[in-house]
Amino acid sequence: MKKKRIGVFICHCGTNIAGTVDVKKVAEALSKHDGVVHSEDYVYMCSDPGQKRIVEAIKENDLDKVVVSCCSPNLHESTFRNAVKEADKNAFQCEIANIREQCSWVHPNMEEGTDKAIKITKTVVEKVKHNEELEPISVPVTRRALVIGGGISGIQAALDIANSGHEVILVEKSPSIGGHMIQLSETFPTLDCSQCILTPKMVEVSKHEKIKLLTYSEVQEVSGYVGNFKAKILKKPTYVDPDLCTLCDECTKVCPVVVESEFELGLTGRRAIYIPFPQAIPATYILDDTGCPGLLPIACGKCADVCDPGAIDFDQKPEIVEEEIGVIVVATGYDLYDKTNMGEYGYGKIPDVMDGLQFERLCSASGPTNGKIIRPSDLKEPKELVFIQCAGSRDPELHCAYCSKICCMYTSKHAMLYKHHVHDGQAYVFYIDIRSGGKGYEEFVQRTVENDGVLYLRGKVSKVFQDGDKVKVWGVDTLAGKDIEIDADLVVLAMAMRPSEGTEKLAKILKMSLDKDGFFSEAHPKLKPVESVSAGMFIAGAAQAPKDIPEAVAQASGAAAKAIGILSQERLYHSPMVAKVNKHLCTGCRMCVDVCAYDAISIKDGIAEVNEVLCEGCGTCSATCLRAAISVKNSTPYQVHEMINASLGG
């Protein structure tokens, strides 16, 4: 067998590497290493002339394999592999020796740094000697998208993807799309009506021929891989046929059951058969089987009796819908931190202490009071109104450590709306500091303070309690250095934003990672803000972190663009550095199956089998196998052995 000819290229990376590594010495040392026939250094190997040098050196010296000593393979591996491909060699005959992050940046001493750079490069030379020639694995793409969550982010992502001509399945767990945005009264900083700007998009979703809407549904199982996912979606029974329902409202008139309305956040009630709100999409009534007396027509069945079109079907059963998709956009949004967690603010038991979303419903023209601001306990107009910001936010000891970002703005809006409704009322806002970064935001807050005379008090509230028909608020004004006591008629808490209920369960189903606060983790905080770590899964909106509407919409469009990027390809390519089973050594003990995070291994005829498309080449199986019967291509135990040998000077 002809001896393999290896070329080594050492990058200075300006002074990033050359500052603490004597690159000339590394190049010289490597030129004497067994198998190396060409060794050179260059100031920026990743630059165009740098890449050209590699191509030319391969041709001139008839190189078989290439090692580039430079920065992390995360950054320029593909650059150099493409350069090698350009010289008509197999791209996987090129390996990166990281002498920057793992060497020059961590060593202050030139001598030690140089010594280590030589060793690192030698180990990679030994590795590349035994590299197989591989070709990327190619798979077809199912050109459909799954969007989970039907709030503004999900709606925007679904519309963007559908408008590019790809089919979208939009799954929403509640009976209607719209999310929290449809509950809002007016939106900052322009005070346009939230429903008025959202409902056109909701209607567009319902009429879009490329969007398949599954409301009252939850994703139960997702398998597969980028480009080829399979999802099982549970469609809960609504007991009402939306095609037959004429929205005549006869059924609610006879329904004997009243429960708290989710849409109105408990400020009013609804019947067991109901429509969440008049503009609900899909426009249909639904029957809530938890409230309905037993679904036994003998027990009640009054709604069915009065339903002229016969839309009510008590025999509906939960249904599992199976869909094949290529990409997934997660837009599951947020929930408010529960008031019952806040002991200092009365554990949510004081009737006249409400959260921001409830106040939105109170201000909303379509809300339970038709836009009249009255307090729940005695329906009187509150004259003294206290807003408490950072309720649960920015409190690492007891509640959430992070800033919920939108509360400064919506509290300002609430105070302004209150003043517009109750001219003789006084609004107080307790704040830590005002964060109003955003187009037109600071001006909006100033308007609240200056034009509407809202009193901003810098300080925290220590206690809120019922005192007669008033709600006593004990706080402090740190700027004046005074204790403050207010006999308020109504208190509004700007509760922290939390990942929506069920986020953890969904993360397990999708095998996506969550951050320390329970929001979905993005792949990179700056450069990959809409991608998740799992290929083909994207994040949009408040599922990733607290966001206001414009940001959520922007991220949704970003996620959609990324999704379309995958959907518009014929085939996808996947790294061929995947696990390989030695059939003779495998005993089918299933340990690799148990540890595989990607469900890529199964047992077939008593022996492990790798699904190369699912495999990410992480090597966990290889580390687990007692028999060394499974290894990752181009990172075989023998290669690792040779690398250890080389690093020990052998």
Partner: protein, 343 residues
């Protein structure tokens, strides 16, 4: 207590009816008194079957041979093999089931309970009787054995002659079986890891000296590996003598076999061999202590495995060989697993 006649009858029933291919059990030795493993193919052979405190062997070992033999046969006899197992051995069957090495249909398990005592330790017996010629040792209803010597029968307290592992055993009755003889007997040893304490109290230097001395003795005969029912790999990662090479093994692969350990039994190489073996048995070893019994150099090998058993219990609350449905210790992960060893 197991009545031998019952065991013979159960064995006869399945062998006569053809339910099993053959039965792996114990018989009297040609010389001495320690029972030896025996294979019973015909019902009439079963007269030789014995069950007494000298049946120390873990017969599960022979299921390895059975599997390998079957793999080589074109039309193998698919009937199960009958096997006599003690409490500890039954857990070894469970581990093999858990690792998919055998199927439940492959074995017909004749479970025998050790009752109140356990197995004798030959070395202790020899020491106790100092050269007297023993012909038979029997179980008693209480915690003692009846030993028959040329001078007649003597009752010996179990504690004097039975194996250390049996004093720490909590499964005197098989946990998996098709037939159970001798009833369910529960044992609650005061300190299931008592034998480790002396060593654990030593300083690091003393431990090093001790193992240095012990492992220097190893001649790498691989008896410990050969007798272990869990060491069923065709190719052992720490053995450079027996590479598994097949007709279709590519030349590249042959060339790339790694020599992690040198062949010669030097102390450092012996350390690697025994440490790797111990780690590979973590969460798999059922403490049958056959390795230590088989060791011709008297290396206290059981200690290494027992220590890892203790660690897996302490850190991961993992019990070996009770549940065949859970993933093995090495391949399981829980969010609450301790990670304070990561620095």
């Amino acid at each position: 207590m197991v009545a031998l006649e019952d065991l013979k009858q159960e064995a006869k029933n399945v062998l006569e009816g053809g339910t099993v291919k053959y039965i792996i059990g114990y018989k009297k030795p040609a010389v001495g008194f320690m029972a030896v493993p025996a294979f019973f193919h015909k019902p009439e052979d079963l007269d030789a079957l014995v069950w007494d405190p000298t049946c120390v062997h873990n017969l599960v070992l022979f299921l390895k041979d059975e599997k390998k033999k079957k793999l080589g046969q074109k039309e193998p006899d698919e009937r199960p093999v009958g096997i006599v197992v003690k409490g500890c051995d039954s857990r070894a069957v469970n581990v093999l089931l858990q690792e998919n090495y055998i199927d439940r249909e492959n074995v017909y398990i004749l479970g025998v309970s050790c009752g109140k005592t356990g197995m004798v330790d030959l070395k202790k017996v020899r020491k106790y009787f100092k050269g007297k010629i023993i012909s038979q040792i029997d179980f008693n209803e209480n915690e003692s054995f009846t030993v028959t010597t040329t001078e007649g029968k003597v009752e010996v307290p179990a504690a004097d002659i039975f194996a250390v592992r049996c004093t720490e055993c909590i499964t005197a009755s098989p946990v998996i079986h098709d037939v159970l003889l001798g009833g369910d007997s529960v044992r609650t040893p005061e300190n299931p890891f008592g034998s480790l304490e002396e060593m654990e109290s030593k300083s690091q230097g003393q431990k090093w000296d001790f193992w240095q001395e012990q492992l220097t003795k190893c001649i790498r005969c691989y008896a410990c590996r050969s007798i272990c029912p869990m060491c069923y790999c065709d190719e052992c990662v720490v053995d450079t003598i027996n590479f598994a090479v097949y007709p279709d093994t590519p030349a590249e692969e042959k060339a790339q076999k790694i020599k992690w350990v040198e062949k010669s039994p030097t102390t450092s190489e012996n350390f690697i061999y025994h440490m790797v073996r111990a780690i590979h048995l973590a969460g798999r070893c059922v403490d049958c202590a056959e390795c230590e019994r088989a060791c011709p150099m008297d290396i206290p090998l059981r200690f290494l495995n027992k220590k890892l058993e203790k660690e897996s219990k302490k850190l991961f609350d993992y019990d070996v060989g009770y549940d065949t449905e859970i993933p093995s210790l090495i391949s399981s992960f829980r969010d609450e697993d301790p990670e304070d060893f990561i620095r």
